[in-house]
Symmetry: C2
Amino acid sequence: MAQIKLTYFDINGGRGEPIRLAFHLGNIAFEDNRFNFAQFPEIKKSAPLHKVPVMQLDGKVITQSNAMLRYAGKLAHLYPESAEAALFCDEILDAIEDATNALIDTFGLEGDALKSARLSYTDKWLVPYLVWLEQKYASNNGDYFIGEHISIADLKAYVWIKGIMSGSFDYINDDVVSNNTPQLALFCQTIEALPAINLYYQERA
Amino acid sequence: MAQIKLTYFDINGGRGEPIRLAFHLGNIAFEDNRFNFAQFPEIKKSAPLHKVPVMQLDGKVITQSNAMLRYAGKLAHLYPESAEAALFCDEILDAIEDATNALIDTFGLEGDALKSARLSYTDKWLVPYLVWLEQKYASNNGDYFIGEHISIADLKAYVWIKGIMSGSFDYINDDVVSNNTPQLALFCQTIEALPAINLYYQERA
């Protein structure tokens, strides 16, 4: 097994968190190298393509969070084995990444420009993506997005939806999920209540 | 085997083309449903998240081109089996997708706004991503990006670089690849010369 080091913001969310959760659920040892926002400009300079998270595998330096998440998912047996189920899993990972990129495009704006961009984001991206995601979830008729077992699609969706519901983003109402996609709000409660997830966040509190 | 239908622009490039090539190299039967630019507004209305390509598998409708490419890669034995090699493959797929998204953000602009956006794109995105990609390629010391066999990472990179070199994008010089990353220009020639690829484009000409 490779020596794994994951470098990401010291927050319980964002692009690094589903990877941490996958390693945690699979009992895969890794170095959880966290940094704070003040350290980001320095970290960014040496990161591949100036992006985080960064993964180091026996010294090889890797970018792209969904690639890392899929790797963690394979080690932790949280990535579907059938090509078709894996397609459904990958589709969810990549769609959430698109919606994340669109939100990040609003970072750095201020005042009316921020308000306008966030309201537009909510209408054109957030709600349509949530609705699409809820349809995917509902079509599986179970606790998870794919089949009968938890997968990295659930971890990606859980961290993203929890972030949206957190009220962390100005002009994005924290009830946008429960108002538009109540099943996704319940899905987050289901994931949060899993003993391994619950214990993880208790220990981090 | 599922009945596969792929719906995408009738062009030899873009997000759909690596998927077509993967099916072709693997002799995987699929319906190659092509449409022209005039038909796009109508196709877009019913596409999941209003995006193409769209894949239908036994009637299930799928979005996200890299998810489809990975599925095609698994069926065609063009996706690495080891988790670590697959991580390197996924990293390339996702980085090219980021660079593609940034280029698409310049579509629809005109005049000086287009010129400025394309020059900025070339400096901030295109050249850094090409350089990163060339480093990845060079580190493998062979004809392909990963190991000794062609993979979907090669197909994704080939189609993307060929598109950049085509001169199709105003204010992006068609020698940007050969000037900055000559090994990637040679890589494209290597892929193009593969008998299965060469024959495919001869038959489409």
